[in-house]
Symmetry: C2
Subunit: 203 residues, 2 copies
DNA sequence: GTCATTATATACCGCCCGTTATGGAAAGCA
DNA sequence: TGCTTTCCATAACGGGCGGTATATAATGAC
């Protein structure tokens, strides 16, 4: 999964690895949010200077979008795996337990990078918020379709509102990331997940 | 409910109403979050100058704490009324419908002021985050006790985990405020509430 | 009228923000 | 050896931040 296609042969070679620098930037954005992450925070974590950052990534906003791509590809991969679970209940369980694993992991920032960066953002970060909302809507659409399929396949009662159930599942996931960011322990989050699954509709 | 006890008789009289200015500050903090609200935003909305603000409220942080007091007293009053509902289900319904009413009201900022100000905050705003978390924990404790009471009174099954159920209810409420802030319509939020209540445990 | 006290208005402080201009260093090519 | 190209390092830019010093205006007390 190399992002560089053809290495430029002319000129002074780059002295840092773009992918590693982006991974460091991801951690900073994840821990502090878009507005909270300063260029100094980013360059220090990435181990490069500001002109190098601008030459390699464009600007702070472009860097964030690339970091968000990486976040979705690496950290939110479980949301795609969840959709392939055999029943709606298992989809939900995969979603919630995956959410706890990722957003309350030891050695990583607690909370959701997208939510942190989009909930309260400065006027110049409106495009960040719009990007996060667009990606979230896309993910929710896939979940609605998965629950419609579950209704056709009979593992979800026919009277269930697939969109309402998707909003519901997403709300719990958002609550998990909020409470994780506020310092909730893993055990507390697992009790929340267990309670949620105990209430999940069954045929 | 006058906050001024004894009006100072000496010196030049104040030319603005402290309570009205605080209400305006509340709206700014609510719409933009603590970090996102600049002193210029605040003074312009309050109709006063910076020295007047500092003389009357101390500094930005003290102003926020007072605005949060007002927010809890006026906007979150429904959470106290909810605890007095006769059954656990009605407590939950009051909580969720009240949350939609307050956090997706027309003419007011959408989303939760506390959550916006505490989820992603700068290092100097850590005390803000700690205050919000402390208040939230206090509110959750009351909810746990209310659900324990419901178990004793028999309108909640005995096997229910009151703390898990409280985290669960709070997660949905947090999801409501997040989705309201992201632009969800009132109808969408009401479907989320209806779905949540349909799954609520019954005796 | 004079004084002490409090509020207002203007201008300013040092600091950090995201971004960029400038000059030199390291590579391939001729 | 130039020449071009690309990258690195330093330092600076204009602007906004939270907070404040200074001077003036408006009141009650005497």
């Amino acid at each position: 999964m190399e992002s560089t296609i053809a290495p430029p042969v002319k000129g002074r070679p780059r002295e840092f690895c773009v992918d590693k620098a982006l991974a460091e930037a991801l951690h900073v954005f994840w821990a502090k949010g878009y507005d909270g992450a300063s260029m100094t925070d980013l360059t220090e974590a990435m181990g490069i200077t500001k002109p190098s950052l601008y030459a390699a990534f464009g600007n702070k906003e472009a860097l964030f979008h690339k970091a968000l791509d990486l976040y979705e590809a690496e950290k939110l991969e479980y949301t795609r795996a969840a959709l392939q679970q055999p029943t709606a209940r298992k989809v939900a369980e995969y979603y919630l337990r995956g959410g706890v694993d990722v957003h309350a992991a030891e050695g990583e920032p607690h909370g959701c990078m997208g939510l942190m960066s989009s909930l309260a953002c400065s006027p110049e970060a409106e495009s960040i918020k719009a990007d996060v909302i667009r990606r979230r809507a896309s993910s929710q659409r896939a979940l609605v379709e998965r629950f419609e399929q579950a209704k056709r396949e009979g593992d979800l009662p026919a009277h269930i509102d697939a969109e309402g159930l998707t909003s519901f599942l997403y709300a719990i996931l958002q609550g998990i990331t909020v409470q994780a960011g506020a310092g909730a322990t893993r055990a507390e989050l697992e009790r929340l997940v267990d309670t949620s699954l105990a209430l999940w509709p069954s045929k």
